[in-house]
C-alpha cells in the first residue's frame, strides 16, 4: 500500500531510574520535583514510533507524532528522539502525568490528530503504546479511536505485516506468552504496541537537525490543553509500604545454596 500514514500518540514519562515520590499538587496528586526529573519517551510508545518509522519507509507515507506534555519537558525529550527517525510533531502544552485522566488525554489527542493538515484518516494507522509507564491503564488509544470513528483496534501488538492490497496481518499478545493472529482489510486502524521486534535506532544527527527545524516551531505553537476532570478525585496516593529486610548469604558452598533453594521451592 502506498503513502500509508502513521500517527503515533506518544507521551513522556520520568526516567524509570529516578526515584518517584508522590505529593499533593493543588487538586490532584503529582510527583515531587516533577519538572526537575529527566524525562524519556514513554517506552512502549517509543517502540510504536520505531515500528511506525519502518512502516512509512516501506509505504512512502508520512509519520506524525502527537504528544501532550509540559513544553519544556517535551523539548528536552524531542532533542533525543528527533535524532532517531524523521517525523512531524504536533503537540499540546499541559501538565500531563500519571494522575491525569485518560479520557481527558484521549479527547485532546484526538483533537491534535484532527488538526493535522491534509491527513486522510482512511489511509492512516494510529499507533501508540498499549499502556503508558505513568498511568498504565491501557485505555487512551481505544478512546482516541472511538472519537475518530476507528473501530478496528489491536492492543499489545508485536508485529504488523502489510500486504499489497492494503490489508495487513497483526500479532497481538494474549495470555500465556502467545500471540493472536488477525488480518484486517486495511486502514484506518488503531494499534497499541508492546515491544515489537525492532531495536532502538542509533542517533543520526542529520535526521535530528532536519526534525528540529519543524519541532521547535511546533513546540512554540503548542496550545495549552485542559486536562482537568472535576469528577475524578484521588483520595490518597502512597508509596508501597513493604521494604524487605534482605538477608545476604555469602561464604557458603554452592551445594548448600542449592539445597536451601530446593527446600524453599518445595516449602508451602
Amino acid at each position: 500500500m502506498t503513502n500509508l500514514n502513521v500517527v503515533v500518540c506518544a507521551g513522556i514519562v520520568p526516567d524509570p531510574l529516578q526515584t518517584l515520590d508522590p505529593v499533593q499538587t493543588g487538586e490532584k496528586p503529582g510527583l515531587r520535583n516533577e519538572m526537575m526529573l529527566p524525562h524519556v519517551l514513554d517506552p512502549w510508545a517509543g517502540h510504536a514510533l520505531y515500528e511506525a518509522a519502518e512502516l512509512v519507509k516501506e509505504t512512502g507515507g508520512k509519520l506524525y507524532v502527537v504528544s501532550i506534555g509540559p513544553k519544556a519537558k517535551l523539548q528536552q525529550v524531542m532533542m533525543t528522539i528527533a535524532q532517531k527517525v524523521p517525523f512531524q510533531l504536533i503537540a499540546a502544552d499541559a501538565a500531563a502525568g500519571g494522575f491525569s485522566d485518560s479520557k481527558q488525554i484521549a479527547v485532546q489527542l484526538a483533537e491534535l490528530v484532527k488538526q493535522i493538515d491534509g491527513l486522510d484518516l482512511s489511509n492512516t494507522l494510529l499507533f501508540g503504546g498499549w499502556e503508558s509507564a505513568s498511568r498504565g491503564a491501557g485505555t487512551t488509544l481505544q478512546m482516541v479511536g472511538e472519537i475518530l470513528g476507528v473501530t478496528d483496534q489491536f492492543q499489545g501488538v508485536d508485529k504488523i505485516s502489510l500486504n499489497d492490497d492494503g490489508s495487513f496481518k497483526v500479532l497481538e499478545r494474549i495470555e500465556g506468552g502467545k500471540h493472536l493472529h488477525s488480518s484486517c482489510s486495511g486502514a484506518p486502524a488503531v494499534l497499541g504496541w508492546a515491544t515489537g521486534y525492532l531495536p532502538e535506532p542509533p542517533n543520526n544527527p542529520q535526521i535530528g537537525m532536519t526534525n528540529m527545524r519543524t519541532i521547535m516551531p511546533a513546540l512554540q505553537q503548542a496550545k495549552p490543553a485542559d486536562l482537568e476532570n472535576p469528577e475524578l478525585t484521588f483520595t490518597a496516593v502512597e508509596l508501597p509500604k513493604q521494604k524487605r529486610d534482605t538477608k545476604i548469604v555469602k561464604d557458603i558452598s554452592a551445594d548448600e545454596i542449592a539445597q536451601e533453594i530446593i527446600d524453599w521451592i518445595k516449602s508451602k
Partner: protein, 343 residues
Amino acid sequence: MSKILVVTPVESDGTLPQAAGEALGAAITLKEMLEAELCIGIWGQDVDMAIENLGTDAVSSGFKVEGEAFTVSRYASDAAACEAICRQAKADIVITPDSVRTNRTIAGVAFRLNGVSDTHITEFKIENGDLVVSRWHYRQRILAHLKRSQRPWFISIESGVFIPPQGDSKVPSTEALSVDVNDALTRTTVKGIETPAGDEQTIRPDAELLFVAGAGWTKKQPDGEVKAAQAADIILEFLKESKSSLGSTKSLVDLSSEGAAVLPFMTQLNQVGQTGSTPRHDKGLATCCHGEEPHVVGWRFVNERRVINLDPNCGWAHGKADVLYVADAFTVMQKVNELLGNQ
C-alpha cells in the same frame, strides 16, 4: 439502589474464563458493600453453559449476545456486543475481568456510553459513603486510591486478587439481545493463535515459581568463555524439573538485536518489568540479574523473592529481595538441577 453489571465473553468451549470468575467474585464483594443489585452480561457463540454455572445465587438477572461473529476476540464485534449489553442493563457500575480481550474493549465501550473506565483495580472500599478503588501508577511504584462521580463506571479488576464464587449456581432469568453484524464489525478476521518459536512453552502464568534469567547468563564466565548453549541447557532443565515460568530482563532480550550470544527460547514475551509484564507468582528466583528498578517494578506481585548474583551490592540487596545468595548462578543452578533430578 446501585446496579452492578459483570460483563465478559465466554471461552471458545462455552465456559466462563477464570478471570471472569474473579470479576464475579469482586462484584459479589461490591454488591454486599453497596447493597446493590447484581446482573451479568455474557457474549459468545453459545453462552448458556456459562450462565448455568456461575457458582453463585447472587445474580438477579442476565443478558446475552450470541452468534458466530462474537466467538472470536475482535475489538469491533466485542465492543458491539458489550455495548448492547451495557445499554440494556443500565448499570451504574460495570465490572470486567482482567483479560486481554476485555481490557482491549472496555475503554471504548465506556466512551460510547459517556462513561469512564479504570483498569487494574486491586481493591474496593467505601469512604464517607463513596466507592473508592485502588490501583497502581507508574508501573507499580505508586499506589493510588480514587473515586469518581461520573457513571457508568467501568472497572476492570486485576487478576489474582478476588476469588471466584464456588457456591451453588442459581440460573438468573436471561434476556437475549440482538446485535447487527454489519461489515464494519468484520473488517478484521481472526486467523488463530501463534505460540512463540522454540521447543517449549516457557511462560506459565499459573506456576508457583517465577525464574528470571538476566543477561549474565550469556556473558563471559570466569574461564573467559561465553557459554550460552550450556546456559540454555541449565535453564531449560530447571524449568522442566521445577515447572516454573521463565522471565527475563530487558537487557537479555535486547541482546539478540545487538548481535550478542542469546538464549534461543527467550523472547520479549518473557520480559518482566518496565516494558514487560508484571506477573503474579508466589515465589521468584532471579539469577544473573542486577535488580535495577525498571526490572524490579515487574516483581511487585511476586511474594517471596530470592536472588543469585555475584555482586553483594546489586540492586536486590537494597530491600528488594528476601535473600541474596552471593554466588555463581551457573554453578548453583547446575547443583539445583542435580538435586531436582534425584528427587
